[in-house]
Amino acid sequence: MSLNCGREKDVAAMLEAGHWPAACDAELREHVVGCARCGDLVLVASTMQQARIAAMGEARLQASGVIWWRAQLRRRQAAMEAIARPVRGAQWFAWLVGLAVLVGFVVVELRQGGLAKVEASLGGAGFLSGDVSLMVAGLVVLALLGGVAAWLAMDPMDRE
């Protein structure tokens, strides 16, 4: 069977318009009887079109409003997720900064504890240790507050 038939388009147009076979000229009908390709087209297309009509009658459709509402809900959830993503990043960043400052504070305290011993042995006042401690404590509080604020800003569902 060849891949092409010159009359196939005419037959397809007749089928699509619903003119096959009643409103079709005799010459085209004769052609279809003799042409395997067009015969297949008529058989398959008419069976499928009938099946389509029958199937469309079987469909049990939901109200369009329900689908509209579901789409809106999904769209809104996606938007909320997109908004929450940078805040989640900020939250992690705040925790990391807090942790780094805490570690830094401990390290500095340990080192200055050693320095204080040296200063004490030299008879110094230990002013450096006090200033740095205050600054570090302030940074820790700031970082923790930032983290808590970001956490509070999150939706309860997103926290889990």
Binding site: L3, V44, Q50, S64, W68, R75
Partner: protein, 188 residues
């Protein structure tokens, strides 16, 4: 404290923002749904052979269509895009290879209904469709039931236009053979 309190414009119940975000307004969608839901369901039900699955896939197709940021130009484009979404969903479903027991198939699938040539077409088409490859069933339905051109089928299925032509030719020949076998078996 929640997002609604922190950023009320994003999180409140006002639908204005959500409405604006969807590609169609509610009324336009209702009209589009009325015109395209039944043909889409017929496509999904006949190609998948499962009415319950067709229900689920149809709903999901419309939801994804609405959620998509793509703004289609007109109803024809919207409909083609909808069929594309449905085709992809059906393909994803087939990829999750699972066997269905006969007990899981809805009773209405087997029920014989009163009617005429349409029922006969369904009775003939069902067994023939069951023996076809999923992709061939899709192409055949899109071409002969929906009347899409080779180019449009290529857009919907993601295949090349030349491939569609060849695949459609082979699928149609095979389907015609199966339909003839079926009708001669019924005649005996």
């Amino acid at each position: 404290m929640t997002w609604q309190q922190v950023l009320p414009r994003f999180g409140d119940g006002d639908t204005a923002m959500a409405d604006a975000a969807l590609p169609m307004d509610n009324e336009a969608f209702a009209g589009f749904y009325e015109r395209s839901a039944r043909p889409l369901w017929a496509y999904l039900a006949r190609v998948s052979g499962n009415a319950a699955l067709a229900d689920d896939l149809m709903q999901e197709s419309f939801v994804r269509f609405l959620c998509s940021a793509q703004m289609a130009r007109g109803e024809v484009d919207c409909r083609r895009y909808l069929f594309r979404v449905a085709t992809n969903l059906m393909r994803d479903h087939w990829r999750q290879a699972k066997t269905t027991s006969i007990e899981d198939v809805a009773e209405e699938v087997f029920a014989v209904k009163d009617g005429s040539a349409q029922v006969e077409a369904l009775t003939m088409l069902g067994p023939a469709m069951a023996q076809m490859r999923p992709r061939d069933k899709q192409i055949l339905w899109l071409a002969h039931a929906e009347g899409y051109s080779h180019k449009e089928i290529a857009e919907i299925t993601g295949l090349g236009s030349a491939s569609v032509r060849l695949l459609l030719f082979r699928a149609r020949r095979r389907m015609a053979e199966l339909l003839r076998e079926g009708s001669s078996r019924r005649a005996l």
